[in-house]
Amino acid sequence: MRSVVRVSERVEETPSTVTLRFPYGPPAEPGQFVMLWIPGDDELPMSLSFTDGASKGVTVKSMGDTSRRIQAIRPGDAVAIRGPYGRPFPTSPGRTLVVAGGSGSAVLAPAVERVRARGGSVVVALGATQRPELLFRERFERCGATVRVATDDGSEGFHGYVTEVAATILEEGSIDAVWTCGPERMMDKVVRSAAARRVPCFGSVERHMKCALGMCDACAFGPFHVCTDGPVFDGGRLASVPEFGRFHRDPSGRRASF
């Protein structure tokens, strides 16, 4: 079930994010993830930021030690991949609002490309701490999505939270669906705004993962498992889970607040 692949390309997307491309045949849908094993080191869930064709990719944000070591991988290095796992974004035509916070663009970009290719129209509310961290901005524009930017420091676009940009777009109306990925408190706000306007909403959630097979309970998320029931959940489910936006679990299963 695992495949050992050699990384074919490494792209520094922003100061804190790196894309690794590698040949991996199994078909994947935008929103699905793989388990990426760095030999001799950890194995981690990573959303596919490139899902089409045989050259897949992941886009890794520098968080702690492990993600930094993943970023240090060079073309030619071997990694092991299993998957793809999980449920994808439902790509229906119509007008989709995409709310991406930080590295959330990694999982949203292929979904946006897919829905654009199918003739849907997309407006992306793209947030980052500062201008250089705006991930996949050109990629969104290249496929014909409208991009509206927010930065925490005001170095580009709206000065403030991307959720406010998103709320404005929602108020403007004519949005058929909302997709979101980013910090959970951010997604929580997006889910509420969408619910208030009765617009279907889907968010991609992260939890600690071990098996990715719906067995070990590491990624328990209310009555769900992120690895098999998610990572993409509809807003109704997200709102029903008491821990959404509030706490996750560490590798021992203990609760930890966001």
Partner: protein, 314 residues
């Protein structure tokens, strides 16, 4: 339809299919989920005295849909935090069995006492995890020690105690007999079988811990052999575990001597709906074979006449 409910070690089970320890049992909501999906009862993840993160990933390897190797390393939040998780499951009416692991009698006894206060109906002792230094098989592969641990636990709790036996021993039935002497209400068999996988391209073991435990259909014959031998050796009820994917597999265990069974790996291959399916299919199978009640099939394969001419004689 034949009745599939069964009494085992004082538990009244609506069907014989228990959620095996280590699958879905780390949170209260998951225990409830397995119960609602139709499990006859739910066994918690093995809980220790303090929190344990378990081993780093990779922690699992799969072989088609017939085998799985894992070394989770007994991750658990520790008994203090876990008791809160269990409250939800108890309130949902689930029949809960609390699984515990420790490095010595005293630890097992303390955990059993705490578990007993949490609304569980029985305690399962993990004497058999094959890949945790200082725990599991390391404290469960010598009959004297098994007897001492079970005795220490039964002194601390009025609940039925189920000793989970390792197959990684020359004579697993001797371990079951030791548990019986120690006062166990039942034994469960088997835990995973010690195994290893190597990735030849990466030139290293797949699991971060190296050694792991094999589960799934691959070990069904091993579990059946253990249950068969245990049935010929002890009088307390047996809970069969290992590789159950179909109602027929469960009935093999029952005919080998088990009164109830546990299902683990198949949850990964099929999802939690496996419990509803198994209970339904078992009813149909019993009807087909002419059993009115599952209990009538317990041990049915023992003592069947065999050898040349047996059919004429029997």
């Amino acid at each position: 339809m034949a009745s599939v409910d069964v009494r085992c070690a004082g538990l009244e089970l609506r069907n014989p299919f228990l959620l095996a320890s280590g699958i879905w049992g780390e949170t209260g909501a998951s225990l409830v989920g397995a119960w609602r999906a139709g499990a006859g009862g739910v066994i918690t993840k093995s809980i220790g005295e303090g929190p344990r993160a378990g081993y780093p990933n990779p922690t699992v390897e799969t072989y088609g849909t017939w085998g799985m190797l894992n070394a989770m390393g007994l991750p658990n939040p520790g008994i203090d935090e876990y008791l809160a998780e269990m409250a939800a499951a108890r309130d949902a009416g689930a029949v809960i069995v609390g699984s515990v692991f420790a490095g010595d009698e005293a630890g097992f006894a303390r955990l059993a006492r705490r578990m007993s206060s949490a609304g569980v109906r029985a305690i399962e002792l993990n004497l058999s995890c094959p890949h945790a230094e200082g725990f599991g098989t390391e404290v469960g592969s010598e009959p004297g020690q098994v007897e001492r641990i079970v005795r220490a636990v039964t002194a601390e709790t009025k609940l039925p105690v189920i000793a989970k036996i390792t197959p990684n021993a020359a004579d697993p039935a001797a371990l079951a007999a030791a548990a019986e002497r120690g006062g166990a209400a039942a034994v469960s068999a088997i835990n995973t079988v010690r195994g290893l996988a190597i990735d030849v391209r990466l030139k290293r073991p797949v699991l971060s811990h190296g050694l792991g435990g094999l589960s799934g259909p691959a070990i069904k014959p091993v579990g059946l052999a253990c249950v068969w031998q245990i049935y010929e050796r002890v009088r307390i009820p047996i809970v069969g575990v290992g590789g159950i994917a179909r109602a027929e597999d469960a009935l093999e265990y029952v005919m080998a001597g088990a009164r109830a069974v546990e299902v683990g790996t198949q949850v990964a291959f099929e999802g939690i709906d496996v419990f509803g399916r198994l209970a339904r299919e078992l009813g149909t199978l019993l009807d087909e074979l002419g059993f009115a009640r599952l209990e009538d099939a317990v041990g049915a394969a023992h003592g069947a006449p065999s050898g040349p001419g047996a059919r004429a004689a029997g």
